[in-house]
């Protein structure tokens, strides 16, 4: 995490004016620097970029990502140029694929005769727990076909969360567009599974609300009022998933960066010992908590997706 503030740290002088506007070249304040690291951008920071530039090995501390011409789709303009979060999304996806294929090779075929060791054993334990206690338990009979999605979701979110904790890393799941897309995919899967299980008539009953034991005008009035509410209910659950993941990942990073930033805010007005030790101890504690949150949020997203699939499959 210190690496995230490295360019700023290198430029910072232990003087009051440096704490007020301590940027490497642009006169950024601490708040702006924190937001720069939490939000998406079109450049990737080079590890130890400031130090490498100082000794003359490189000219810039960041790599500018390529830009493509926007695509016009009717009234919509799509800019498909990669950003920092897109790069880390792909990195997370590649890591998931590599780790899972490697684990599969270690646990299948001839290798399956012996229990896997090390990381493969850890991944296998996660996979078995998620399959039995999360997916199958919540989805119920016929839940096997949803296990690959739930597992992919869990490991992808976990890897994306963990990549954000590395120095010079970025948390793709701290971007609402990413979490909303994941939630949208879950919404589509939930609704399709509901449609396939309940059939068109049964699925329609999960949208159009017609209470029994009422005269026709009462039913019509209730259907007119309650149908939008039921539709909102379908969207509300994935919406909560998206906001929960985004907020948790962003908030943790903001806290750590703010604590590290305290060093530079307090340095000009106090001796170096106190402003350095206290924020670093607190930032390390929050980082440990963030490791747990990275795992917990991936688990909650995967579990609630399974719960919602199970709920719609057993509706009515």
């Amino acid at each position: 995490m210190i690496g995230r503030l490295w360019p700023w740290l290198q430029a910072a002088e232990p003087q009051a004016e440096a704490a007020a506007a301590p940027a490497e070249g642009g006169g950024l304040t601490l708040g702006e620097m924190i937001m720069h690291h939490v939000t998406d951008s079109r450049e990737l920071e080079i590890p130890f970029g400031g130090a490498l530039r100082r000794i003359g090995l490189i000219d810039r501390t960041a790599i500018e990502l390529p830009r493509f011409d926007p695509i016009q789709l009717g009234p919509v303009t799509l800019d498909l140029s990669p950003t920092k979060h897109v790069v880390f999304l792909f990195l997370a996806a590649i890591l998931v694929a590599v780790v899972m294929i490697w684990t599969a090779r270690k646990t299948h075929g001839k290798a399956a005769e012996r229990a896997p060791k090390g990381v493969a054993n850890l991944i296998e334990a996660f996979v078995i727990y998620l399959r039995d206690e999360v997916a199958l338990r919540n989805i119920g009979h016929g839940g096997e076909r949803y296990v690959p999605y739930v597992l992919t979701l869990f490991f992808f979110i976990l890897f994306a969360n963990l990549l954000g904790l590395l120095p010079w890393g970025a948390t793709a799941t701290g971007n609402i567009a990413v979490t909303a897309t994941l939630a949208f995919l879950s919404l589509v899967l939930i609704e399709v599974s509901g449609f396939r299980t309940l059939g068109p008539r049964g699925y329609l009953r999960t949208i159009v609300f017609v209470p029994e034991g009422m005269p026709w005008y009462g039913k019509a009035l209730m259907a007119a009022i309650m149908t939008p509410v039921e539709l909102l209910g379908k969207v509300a659950k994935p919406f909560a998933l998206a906001v929960r993941l985004f907020a948790n990942m962003t908030a943790g990073h903001l806290v750590v960066l703010a604590l590290v930033g305290l060093i530079f805010v307090a340095a000009p007005v106090a001796s170096w010992i106190l402003p350095v030790i206290a924020p670093v101890v607190m930032a390390v504690a929050i980082m440990v908590l963030e490791l747990f949150v990275a795992l917990l949020q991936a688990f909650i997203f995967a579990m609630l997706t399974s719960v919602f699939i199970g709920l719609i499959r057993h509706a009515h």
Binding site: G233, A240, V307
Partner: protein
């Protein structure tokens, strides 16, 4: 003394919290949705704040009924159906 939950029960708690959170959010969203509809209607008819208030009341009522239906009526009917199926 309070009973400690077994490890197997803990994911169940997360599941229930997620479910109830969804229903709670539906209640809030339905209030906001009908309030917004009321505001649009008021702006069109020039009757502000009549339909805003009416929309908020209808939205809150509908959201609460949805919550009550999913948490009380629906499980009760399911239990009754299951009991009927077992007897029959």
């Amino acid at each position: 003394m309070a009973e400690r939950r077994s490890p197997a029960e803990k994911p169940r708690v997360v599941m229930e919290v997620g479910r109830y959170f969804g229903y709670g959010l539906t209640w809030a969203l339905s209030t906001a949705f009908f309030l917004f509809l009321g505001w649009l209607l008021d702006r069109w008819l020039g009757t502000l704040p009549l339909f805003v208030v009416l929309g908020a009341v209808v939205g809150a009522g509908a959201g609460f009924y949805s919550l009550y239906y999913h948490l009380v009526i629906e499980p009760r009917e399911r239990r009754r159906r299951e009991a009927g199926g077992n007897n029959g």
